[in-house]
Subunit: 601 residues, 2 copies
């Protein structure tokens, strides 16, 4: 096995030929960087991933975190890794330089995260969560909070978390019950429980900083009464001393996969001595948290893509080496067996995986680029990029997550019986991948977010902008005779999506939100396929242009591979919109009408 | 948690209202039975499953088989279980009474297997494999083999296996290398390796009997040189002594799931003292083995259905009890949360699972009924039932296996974060289910079997019979105004399938087998959806008739649930044929043309 888990060539193709990331170096914000520096950063990330993360992929899975005497014990390398993440600037990669960050474009920082996640997803979440929590403090926190918490967090000495979920309030955040009691000493006294807190405690760091949602005593009920707090595990008391902040680890979950990362249950204020520090305005916590949440959702999409990518390369490697069977027309059993990649059905399985993972990666990086562009533009252009990012976030979270299950499953299938055994990493990828449709908002929640919020916000302006973007890519594709028929297929699918959207909006007016949103998950699925087809069309045009210009033989086969995979997507995946469209256009409200009673027998 | 894993009500509905199993008691072969006896058998199976199998589901997963000093150690209850399987007649349930079997119809025996598999899939394979191996001996073995091996196997004292796969010959059986050297003493000397042998050794029995494929020295190359042997682990030497037969366990696999069952690597003849006994004619082993293989494939379909069924009931139970969120129109956060089953998207997920599992079970039992009818009829009617069984076997193996992954995944999703944790059995179901698209012939092989063999055999007669059966059900459905529109949808899908089949046959003629079979897996998927829609139409007609006749309130909600699920299948699943049809009708040979080189970058 080659142990390949990402393609540097594909990353370069996306960064420079598709998304022209170099253009960012011509902006004020990113003007201090060059393409060469970006390349060095990506190379360094790849090296760290190869040298430190991939080698412990299996070990971290086999030796999951344990709760020992109130402390969560993780893999012994995590402490050293956190130090390297900190010293190497990986936690602060997207932070401004005045805070000791690297000031890298979001797209470059996320390519590095992707590489880490492909090497070892569990090991990659520690710095990612820390960066997200630190960014929240930087954006909304007081100067004092920033000065106290940012340096050790970006240095990898303190872990950051996002602490939202409670046992009685999973997807329903308005029901959280953790309470913040005001004091006159500049802090709140926190009391409550949190569950499913990723990296909520571990012995790879000296402290853990929870960005926690809680309700200030007496605040309004529901989402409008939620505030955001910094709740450290240990609080800085005098200058150099950290004292217990009365945060107890009540448990650590044993999970299907993603086993290297500790997912914890926390209890705050059992001794009435848990202090929380308000971040941003009181009762505005949810909207602050959504900054981190949206980035986390994109991170989930990238993480899901990363795991499926690693699984794809493992399957590809195996398929090239494993001899089995003969061409169908070859009836002579004395001829040698052929590598399974030469069987058409195996090529189909590999093309499926490649179409999913390279399409997903492209969409996630497209979102990162919108985020970067929103930072370097202003006025209408800024709004445009922001709206596109907002609209595409639930799709970039969900398509890779849902399809990642199928893609890792097909990777496993390529190995036959060996795929089901622990001898190869692919069974772990299959388990690891399954978390993604759940965390940071389930697929069902993403569907409601897309259809119920993003499609209608600003009078549907984001949706209109998306259709414009896709239409522009279709026009670009039509210029090439080889690509034009596929561009037409996407134009048809886009037209169907427009029709479905109109139909659903009409339903909303006539029949209310329950009917409107009943099939939001299917709407998300359909939009996802269209979005990935769009990304493949963009890639095909770039590959076609490169081939027309002429290139080295090695590059030629890469570009041709891109065009094959593009064709695969349009021939095998895009047609799935037909069935979805049929369902979304029909009015049989079967899931609405089904009663709880009729499930009983 | 209720711990429910099957619905007795649904089993009764299928057995008596759909498949009229009582009619079998009016045949010579099954005339000694009554419906009451069938009921008693099913009840006893359920009791055994509840009392003995389900309670150790988790334990067997957590303590997988280990190889200790050359012997495979399994869960301590397996020995007692094998005894109960034997004494209770569960291994011999389908065997004729003159061999101490119960002489039960195949459909009843398989309902019992289904119940065992739903309770604990790993624990259910020991008797199933033993019965399959014993049946092969009974059908093709000499009187001496039958007398020696059947009694201890049916008594659960000796384990049976099917030993086909070798490290260099997975799906390509013609490449097996295990060799049988003739002797003049009535046996062959066996030398070779086998891999992935389920229950290939364990300490829950006194002996293991391998039904093994090997090539007699000097036999023709390829599939025509394969013979079938009985190769016991211990061979009866003098009357009461078992001596080693030189079969060594080289390893036991550590697997993603299905962990309670030992999957082994075997080495035969390391000391030149492994004896094999020919079963059936020399060089005809593959066709003998296919008897067991076909039954095993149906068993896989049932096993996959069973696991997904248990996962569905776990999810249903959780969804009824777990409060979370409020109706979309309810904006007041002070109102109590509702059970998640009341959210439309959760109902959709549950309906999906129910549609898959009850549709799959129906198709599997339909196949069993064809098998029974083939036994009790003769001439054209026998041929008809045999052909339908042959045609539907790859579908009944694959639809439940592939959809079982998605169905258990949706069950897991219903639990949110808890589904990903070991606190509930559903993460185990997700792992257990993943074996089914692999063992007993991968999905890819099933696709080739369906399109390349079953659709064309006897000049396409089986395919024609299948279309006739579906057409008859459509006609029955059209008699009810409420059902007629759905019957029309199936008629359209069937017409599409006919068109696709014609198109592919034409391709075969023009372009040869590679092009013809390139998308055999998709053809299988499309046929599978049509077959399950057909089974749902049959169920809907029966439910509708029962409701028209009038019934108890409790039964009413069951029948209404059936009709809701039927509607769900036709509105959400049947439309998936549109995309498949589009792909199967288009001629872009992208998977054929993709080169191995273009996968490299």
């Amino acid at each position: 096995m080659s142990g390949k888990f990402v393609s540097e060539k594909n990353l370069n193709f996306l960064l420079y030929e598709i998304f022209d990331v170099e253009s960012l170096t011509r902006t004020d914000r990113y003007g201090q960087h060059t393409k060469k520096m970006f390349n060095m950063v990506v190379k360094a990330a790849t090296q760290l991933a190869k040298d430190r993360l991939y080698p412990i992929l299996d070990e971290m899975d086999k030796h999951p975190p344990e709760l020992v005497a109130g402390r969560v014990k993780v893999h012994g390398d995590v402490r050293e890794l956190m130090k390297e993440y900190g010293e190497g600037g990986w936690i602060g990669s997207g932070f401004p330089e005045e805070h000791d960050g690297e000031g890298l474009p979001i797209i470059i920082a996320n390519v590095c995260r992707f590489i880490f996640a492909a090497a070892n997803y569990s090991a990659s979440v520690f710095p990612e969560l820390t960066a997200g929590a630190a960014e929240l403090i930087l954006t909304f926190g007081s100067r004092e909070l920033v000065d106290t918490y940012l340096p050790p967090m970006l240095a990898g000495q303190w872990q950051g978390t996002m602490a939202l979920t409670e046992p009685q309030a999973g997807s329903s955040l308005s029901d959280i019950a953790t309470t913040a009691f005001p004091t006159d000493q500049g802090y709140y006294r926190i009391k409550g429980q949190k569950t499913f807190i990723s990296a909520g405690d571990h012995d790879g760091v000296d402290n853990v900083v929870h960005l926690m949602l809680a309700k200030i005593e007496g605040a309004p009920q529901g989402a409008r009464g939620i505030s955001l707090f910094v709740v450290p595990k240990l609080r800085p008391d005098t200058k150099d001393t950290l004292v217990s902040n009365d945060v107890t680890v009540a448990g650590v979950y044993h999970k299907l996969g993603y086993r290297g990362a500790p997912i914890t249950e926390l209890s705050m204020g059992e001794n009435n001595d848990c202090r929380g520090f308000l971040v941003g305005e009181a009762n505005r916590g949810l909207s602050c948290m959504f900054q981190m949440m949206n980035e986390a959702r994109l991170g989930v999409g990238l993480g899901a893509t990363a795991i499926a990518t690693a699984a794809y390369y493992a399957a590809l490697d195996y398929a090239m080496e494993r001899p089995q069977g003969r061409p169908l027309a070859q009836k002579d059993p004395s001829t040698p067996q052929i590598p399974i990649i030469e069987h058409t059905d195996v090529k189909r399985m590999l093309l499926f995986q490649r179409a999913v993972v390279e399409g997903s990666l492209s969409l996630c990086l497209q979102c990162c680029l919108y985020a970067d562009r929103a930072k370097v533009t202003s006025g209408e252009e800024k709004e445009r990029n922001t709206l596109l990012l907002d609209l595409l976030t639930p799709i970039a979270k969900t398509y890779p997550s849902e399809m990642g299950i199928l893609s890792t499953s097909q990777a496993l299938q390529c190995f036959g019986g060996y795929g089901y055994c622990e001898d190869f990493p692919v069974e772990q990828y299959f388990r690891d991948a399954r978390i993604h449709p759940i965390h940071e908002g389930t697929t069902g929640m993403q569907g409601m977010d897309l259809l119920g919020r993003k499609m209608v916000m600003n009078n549907g302006r984001a949706a209109m902008l998306f259709m414009e973007e896709v239409t522009r890519s279709i026009a670009a594709g039509k210029k090439f005779p080889d690509i034009a028929p596929y561009a037409d297929l996407l134009a048809q699918a886009l037209e169907q999506l427009r029709k479905v959207t109109g139909h659903l909006f009409a339903l909303a007016g006539e029949k209310g939100p329950e009917v409107f949103l009943a099939d939001a998950t299917l709407f998300l699925e359909m939009t996802g396929i269209v979005a990935i087809a769009w990304q493949w069309l963009i890639q095909a045009v770039a590959a076609h242009e490169a081939l027309e210009k002429g290139c080295k033989q090695k590059d030629e086969r890469f570009y041709q591979g891109k065009i094959f995979t593009f064709r695969y997507f349009f021939r095998y995946e895009l047609p799935k919109t037909l069935g979805l469209c049929q369902r979304l256009m029909d009015n049989d409200p079967v899931t609405m009408e089904m009663t709880t009673d009729s499930f009983k027998d």
